[in-house]
């Protein structure tokens, strides 16, 4: 800080009197420069007193006007507490959080004025009460100590008066030129109010231009509908209506705005129960496993560049009205797959669906539309709406045009709202070099990121939980965002405020702007509007705002599409395909500094804190990397070391050094690179993690490209992962057993097997489980012995249905947020000390070329005969009368024997003081109902005992039993598919008891007789008889 003052030189200014100085218009700015910490009274450190005062004020107002508040103006003392505000009680407020402009409705849990947990909003179409891991983790963004807090000019703290003066001066100059030199760059905008503000500006300055750029955009989807139907449309899938779903290079259940809803809907058709023995079928063709691919009944590994060929083959077999010139041949396996898929689609016409991922070119989307049209699926399983964005656009075209204009010197004022093109724009545009060419550039962002560093001005952005706003869901439904907390940092602004400032509406609050817009848009006024507004804010959704379904017709019959030349490339053995994909957790890089998402093991690879060059085992071997990276005593049992080789990938004259990692199920001769890593200015956690895949991504190779060259280097790289071993059991001695060591962990079966024998009695897993172990000791904790007369005794238990689990990991992050679980960082994960109480186990079965994946969330099992309790010398882990295996942190001395004796290894130990948070702002985030664990104690899943206690208090007050469904642990709450069910096993009518009584219920490692309270249903899948047979013989040949 001292250094900065010296560098500035202006700090040496002399003045004659303090008064003179203080009256100077730039006093504020000067103060900020001299004492940057004083410039932000609510900075990183918020004093409790100050905080409560502000919160008290905002809460008081919340009581008056349904959570409205006035950030500025007189503070009203809380002499009368608003009725809903009870100390120690939490309140829920409906709001919405958006990624790439698309909202997920949430209920934010507020404790004494601080949001401490994000939960899904059951009213919201994109949530239905569940969330994704990203939505859960957006809470941490609010409290991130690395958030930008100061207005910066050329990287130095500056004052508002200077900024406003300069900005308005520039705008005034531009106004004279009809805005000819102004360019606004935003992400995808669905917010009607913000779009309205931008449009107002454009109206006043017709020469100005508004561009949108998202690194992961839906432009191919829009172009695809344009090819097929003549206009840009957004497809909505009705996956609960689907009997056969074919996903081509599409991660429909995990990635994209509607994924949470889609996962929910799709799994409605997979709830296999006794007497309900039907199931939909999922076909996936993709280069690398995605969450959708892991869920697939039949999966085909195929390069992205061949998807078009495959789709056309399916179209041809179905006589779909589409014509294209395609070259290249499908392999016999792909051919067979296409035939089966076509047959299945046809057999379920009207209840089937073929979807194509956003990475595929428009022509492939058009082929898919033709297929769905031919099958009569349009209108049944897929409908089309107008794009939810305020101004749909082609993002690549936008950014390219902007780059050109900057290059030509046409851009004088560049306003970038919440985007980071210096990092994520296509590499051939060299956007980072262009930004400094703009004379006046303004960047609004939550972080001083790569773009902020290049701009003249950086304005810190307000977090959506701190401000008003509005945003649309994937189906167009509008949600009003309401603030949960006064902005933590006084200098932050929203995009809306900034646009209002530019539009000459300085001083208008977001609340006024949003309300004014909707007053106009709804056409309501007075009490009617108040009612509408209150209802919308309260419910978190605005009624009747979903985009109406459009009736569509094919533009021409048959469609004639041009398949890009790339797809015609014959797959030569030595050309490698590079496929870019958004990272499963940190997305396009915007969440790079979110430690929860960084540490969340990626659903497929179980790696964290990194992106890697994923490739098949064969390719890995072919590149000569196998021996360097693996430990093996023979071909059958081997695993990849922590140290993997670095390779250099060259593509179109660009190169990237990246760590290579083999992953089963990846198609050969292809490499998948996840975007979002390799950031240089993400913040303390995100900077320097992973490799920047954007350096290879160009406008022509936006999603995939062929012809990459790989040069192994001599260096190696340490990867962090939470599951070290892959399959690698190619022997197929007993295909029912888990990989590597032939151990029966998950009970698995096909739908056909379930129909014949719902108990799956012949499976190896049942062998041990069937055995009854009598005991001389009284079995006090057996749930089925909890009979009358003491009917008030609860027997808490959980049943997990792996069939419904996609592996999306929302439960893991939800658990982390609920239970104050610390983040330990990459180095500690490498040393296998991650603290997540809930993990998702992933097992491969079958050949490494195309294995089946089985997943199951594994929390503490709360065993009735818990081995951990037996071996603790100080009774720090004991059983309670309701069957919970409780952990007494205060009593724990940390011998860790409990963990050793836990066959599920679900216990986590504080090897360091992980819970210590240097930054006080993070303390605001902690859940006050959960103890923060200190160094040297063991911890583990508690079944969210704090939620049980809360329900018990409520029930006792009303003198009743806790109702079924009243206690919902965080994992169950976040799960989009309902794979986790918790409840009272002593209640014969409870949902959990009914699942536990299902014939295909089993205990993991049941033969150990620990009698876990968490049990699983068998993982049932629905393979196609023709394909599975083919694959078995295929696998047998290895």
């Amino acid at each position: 800080m001292e250094k900065r003052t010296h560098e500035q030189g202006t700090g040496e200014k002399f003045w004659r009197s303090l008064n003179e100085l203080m009256e100077a218009p730039d006093f504020e700015e000067h103060l900020a420069r001299e004492f940057p910490r004083h410039a932000q009274p609510l900075s990183d450190f918020v004093s409790r007193r100050q905080f409560l005062k502000l919160m008290g004020a905002s809460m008081a107002l919340a009581g008056l006007s349904a959570c409205g508040y006035k950030p500025q103006g007189p503070i009203i003392s809380q002499s009368k507490t608003p009725p809903e505000h009870l100390p120690g009680e939490t309140l829920y407020f409906a709001t919405a959080l958006a990624v790439s402009g698309f909202a997920t409705g949430v209920l934010a849990k507020s404790y004494e004025g601080r949001p401490i947990k994000i939960e899904g909003n059951p009213n919201h179409p994109a949530s239905l009460g569940a969330t994704s891991a990203i939505t859960q983790a957006m809470l941490l963004d609010l409290y991130d100590p690395d958030r930008s807090q100061n207005l910066l000019k050329f990287g130095r703290v500056a004052g508002w008066s200077t900024f406003t003066g300069e900005l308005l001066q520039q705008i005034a100059i531009q106004n004279a030129k009809q805005g000819a030199g102004v360019r606004i760059l935003t992400g995808a905008i669905t917010s009607p109010t913000l779009a309205d503000q931008i449009q107002q500006f454009l109206k006043a300055n017709p020469q100005a231009k508004w561009y949108q750029y998202e690194a992961v955009s839906w432009e191919n989807v829009y172009e695809g509908t344009k090819l097929a139907f003549g206009e840009w449309l957004y497809p909505l899938y009705r996956l609960d209506q689907v009997d056969v779903l074919v996903a081509l290079d599409s991660d429909i259940l995990y990635s994209g705005p509607g994924a949470v809803r889609y996962a929910h809907d799709f799994m409605q058709g997979r709830k296999v129960r006794k007497g309900q023995e039907r199931m939909n079928r999922l076909f996936v063709a993709e280069p690398m496993f995605t969450v959708t691919g892991m869920t697939a009944d039949e999966r085909l590994p195929i390069p992205s560049s061949k998807i078009g060929r495959l789709a056309y083959e399916i179209a041809r077999l179905l006589d779909a009205p589409v014509q294209a010139e395609v070259a290249g041949e499908l392999t016999p396996e792909e051919q067979k797959w296409a035939q089966v898929v076509a047959g299945e689609l046809k057999a379920h016409a009207g209840r089937s669906l073929l979807v194509v991922g956003e990475a595929q070119p428009p022509a492939v989307h058009a082929i898919a539309h033709a297929i769905n049209h031919a099958l009569g699926n349009i209108g049944n399983t897929v409908v089309f709406i107008a794009p939810p964005e305020a101004k749909p656009t082609l993002h690549t075209q936008d950014i390219r045009q902007l780059a050109q204009e900057i290059q030509n010197g046409a851009v004088e004022v560049l306003i970038m709202l919440g985007v980071n093109p210096a990092y994520d724009a296509p590499a051939d545009l060299n956007f980072a070099e262009l930004i400094p060419k703009v004379p006046f550039s303004v960047h609004l962002g939550a972080y001083v990121d790569e773009t902020a560093a290049l701009c003249v001005w950086h304005v810190p952005e307000t977090h959506p939980l701190e401000t008003w706003g509005d945003v649309r869901a994937f189906d167009g439904t509008v949600s009003i965002q309401q603030p949960l907390i006064y902005p933590l940092y006084s200098n932050t602004r929203t995009a809306l405020e900034l646009m209002a400032l530019i539009n000459g509406q300085a001083g208008k609050q977001t609340y006024e702007l949003v309300q004014a817009y909707w007053q106009k848009a709804s056409g309501l006024s007075g009490a009617q509007f108040d009612k509408f507004w209150r209802q919308s804010v309260h419910d978190g959704v605005m009624p009747r705002t979903a985009r109406p379904v459009k009736t569509v017709a094919l533009k021409q019959n048959p469609l004639v599409v041009q398949v890009p030349a790339l797809l015609d490339t014959v797959q030569a053995a030595d050309t490698l395909e590079i496929r870019f994909a958004p990272d499963p957790t940190i997305y396009d890089g915007r969440f790079a500094n979110n430690a929860w998402l960084q540490e969340l093991p990626k659903p497929v690879t179980r790696t964290c804190w990194d992106n890697l060059a994923f490739m098949s085992l064969n390719t890995f071997k072919k590149l000569g990397l196998w021996s360097k990276a693996t430990y093996a005593w023979n071909e059958d049992v081997s695993f990849v070391r922590d140290q993997v080789p670095l390779i250099e990938i060259r593509l179109d004259g660009k190169s990237l050094v990246v760590a290579a990692y083999p992953i089963p199920g990846h198609v050969d001769d292809a490499i998948t690179l996840h975007l979002g890593y390799g950031r240089t200015r993400a913040g303390a956690k995100g900077s320097g993690a992973g490799f920047n895949a954007y350096t290879l991504r160009t406008t022509s190779n936006l999603w995939f490209a062929r012809g990459a060259e790989v040069i192994p280097t001599r260096q190696s790289y340490t990867v962090a992962r939470t599951e070290e071993h892959h399959l690698i059991d190619t022997r197929q001695k007993d295909p029912e057993l888990d990989s590597t060591a032939h151990r029966p962990i998950l009970l698995t079966g096909t739908l056909e097997e379930f129909r014949q024998d719902p108990e799956l009695k012949n499976k190896p897993h049942r062998k041990g489980y069937e055995h009854v172990h009598p005991s001389m000791y009284p079995e006090r904790f057996r749930y089925d012995r909890y009979e009358n007369p003491d009917n008030f005794r609860y027997a808490w238990g959980m049943v997990i249905d792996p069939t419904l689990c996609t592996g999306c990991s929302a439960c893991v992050t939800a658990c982390q947020a609920e239970n104050n679980i610390p983040v330990v960082g990459k180095e500690q994960v490498v040393r296998r000390r991650e603290m997540l109480w809930l993990r998702i186990d992933r097992y491969f079965k079958g050949s490494p070329e195309n294995p089946k994946v089985y997943q199951a969330p594994v929390p503490c099992m709360h065993c009735e005969n818990a081995g951990c309790e037996l071996v603790c010398p100080v009774a720090a882990t004991v059983h309670d009368h309701e069957g919970l295996n409780v952990m007494i942190y205060n009593r724990c001395v940390g011998t860790r024997y409990c963990s050793n004796n836990c066959p599920y290894k679900v216990r986590r130990f504080n090897y360091y003081r992980y819970s210590y948070m240097k930054s006080p702002v993070l303390h605001l985030m902690q859940n006050p109902d959960v103890t923060v664990r200190g160094r040297g104690v063991m911890e583990k899943c508690t079944y969210c005992v704090q939620r049980i206690s809360k329900a018990r208090i409520n029930a006792k007050r009303e003198n009743r039993r806790i109702r079924d469904g009243e206690v919902i642990p965080a994992c169950q709450q976040a799960c989009p598919t309902g794979a986790i069910v918790f409840g009272d096993l002593n209640d014969p009518n409870s949902k959990v008891r009914q699942l536990r009584d299902q014939p295909h219920n089993f205990a993991m490692l049941g033969e150990l007789n620990y009698r876990p309270r968490t049990t699983y249903l068998a993982k049932i899948d629905n393979p196609h008889p023709e394909l599975s047979g083919a694959e078995a013989s295929h696998a047998g040949s290895h």
């Binding site: 151990r743 296998r832 037996l870 010398p873 940390g894 130990f909 090897y911």
Partner: protein
């Protein structure tokens, strides 16, 4: 007692060279009295540096936390427990020699028991450090003791770690008492020989007014025998209970019924190896000791090692057999994982060190080659350390759920603490050599008396000295 000893001992010389009571006293007592040899300074220095390293490691551990070690989930126990079991095992030789061999009336124990008991005490000190500091919160480790408190909170007595607390603390207490009891007559000798007042006072206090009266000797002998009786079950119980730390659990590789005897045998095996490791250099450093710790003593110790080594090796073989015979995939995998898993080197090192190398001891020439014997004893010590590594790490790193498998690698702090305890041990042994008579003077004289001057001895006990027995061959009696 005397009668029983005699016939056995007659065949083997327990002394070398010409002995008198005065000579025995002088040879042993003058070691602490005289200035120490330069080699002592070197060894003590090494030990002191190690001790400083130990202290540093512990202080840093307390400041930062267990994270400085290599332990993780799933391998939540690492070097600390390995070293704990290793040190406890080393201690066992001392107790065995002093207690069981006393009860079995093995006269040859007399020349090495003081030394071995000291080793036991220092080894248990090193061992005890580990379970204390391996806890996450050592400052509350006292909760493992059943101390009265207002919550009426007892320890959890079903946990083998709790049994451990009692077993190890009892063991340490009894070992110290036993050692100190035996020292009292010798301390009195030291007092009587002392020239400086300080030495007189210190030895006077420590010898509790020992005057060597017949009543003193009577009480002494009785108490010593009683303590020997007390110690005897401890030899078996301590390591049995340590083995239960593992055997009580369900971890494949730990859940083994043969653990108690197998651990006890292993402890004696490693204990004798450590006695040899120490005795051989001490004989060089203090040539006077050679007269009392003869080649025959060394030969017997080597034979004990050979015998217990076979018990231990039998344990390894039965583990392999039961892994296969159990028909349990987890147990079977464990054996395979030991053979070929990531830690195969540790397992085969164990088999080599404890199974193969000790077979050299069948050859008498090797048993009499001090250099080879020293090397073998070091190898056995390493092998026994690997045994604990195999048990702790290999079992834990890959147990039931493959998803939870992991790897373990010690850090520099693991090593520094381990080497630190070795340093501490060396320092204590050399301090012991510096200040305390290393061999039991009174007992040696007693043996000397019984063998060559006792009832039925041809020279009577009138103060004339018998001709020294020949270094090898038959004893002096005819």
């Amino acid at each position: 007692m005397q009668e029983a000893i005699k016939p056995k001992v007659q065949e083997f010389p327990l002394f070398e060279g010409q002995q008198t009571y005065e000579r025995i006293t002088d040879q042993i007592a003058r070691i602490p009295e005289n200035p120490h040899p330069p080699a002592w300074t070197v060894m003590f220095g090494i030990g002191a540096v190690g001790t400083l390293m130990l202290i540093t490691s512990l202080v840093w551990l307390l400041i930062v936390g267990l994270g400085i070690w290599g332990i993780n989930q799933p391998v939540a126990w690492g070097f600390a427990i390995i070293n704990f079991v290793w040190w406890i095992g080393i201690g066992h030789a001392g107790t065995l020699i002093s207690a069981i061999l006393l009860l079995l009336r093995q006269a040859w124990r007399m020349s090495i028991n003081r030394f071995a008991e000291a080793m036991t005490i220092f080894a248990v000190m090193c061992a005890g450090l580990f379970p204390l500091f391996h806890t996450g919160r050592p400052w509350v480790a006292y909760w493992l003791f059943p101390l009265p408190n207002w919550l009426a909170m007892w320890p959890q007595f079903r946990s083998p770690l709790e049994w451990d607390v009692f077993a190890v603390s009892t063991y340490f207490t009894v070992s110290v008492l036993f050692w100190y009891m035996g020292l009292i007559p010798d301390l009195a000798t030291m007092r009587d020989r002392a020239k400086s007042t300080l030495a007189k006072v210190i030895h006077g206090i420590l010898s509790w007014g020992w005057r060597g009266s017949a009543v003193h000797w009577l009480r002494y002998e009785q108490a010593y025998l009683l303590l020997a009786g007390l110690s005897t079950p401890l030899v078996l119980s301590v390591h049995s209970i340590v083995s239960l730390d593992f055997a009580i659990s369900i971890v494949p590789g730990w859940h083994v019924t043969i653990f108690p005897p197998y651990f006890v045998a292993g402890a004696i095996f490693s204990g004798f190896a450590m006695v040899l490791t120490l005795v051989i250099p001490f004989r060089i450093l203090y040539p006077g000791l050679r007269e009392y710790i003869t080649m025959n003593h060394i030969d017997w110790m080597a034979k004990v090692m050979l015998a217990t080594g076979w018990i231990v090796f039998y344990g390894y073989l039965s583990e392999m057999f039961f892994g296969w015979y159990s028909a349990n995939q987890f147990e079977q995998f464990l054996v395979v994982n030991r053979f070929f898993g990531p830690y195969w080197l540790a397992y085969w090192a164990l088999i080599f060190c404890n199974g193969v190398v000790p077979q050299l001891l069948w050859i008498p020439k090797i048993r009499h080659n001090l250099l080879l014997l020293f090397i073998i004893s070091i190898i056995v010590n390493i092998g026994m350390w690997f045994e604990r590594f195999v048990i702790v790490v290999i079992s834990l790193h890959r147990d039931f759920l493959t998803s939870a498998w992991g790897q373990y690698a010690p850090t520099i702090w693991d090593w520094s603490l381990y080497l630190g305890t070795i340093g501490f041990f060396i320092m204590m042994m050399f301090l012991f050599a510096r200040f305390v008579p290393m061999l039991a003077i009174a007992e040696l004289k007693d043996i000397w008396h019984r063998l060559y001057h006792g009832h039925g001895g041809h020279n009577g006990h009138a103060g004339k000295h018998a001709p020294a027995p020949a270094p090898t061959g038959k004893g002096g009696e005819s």
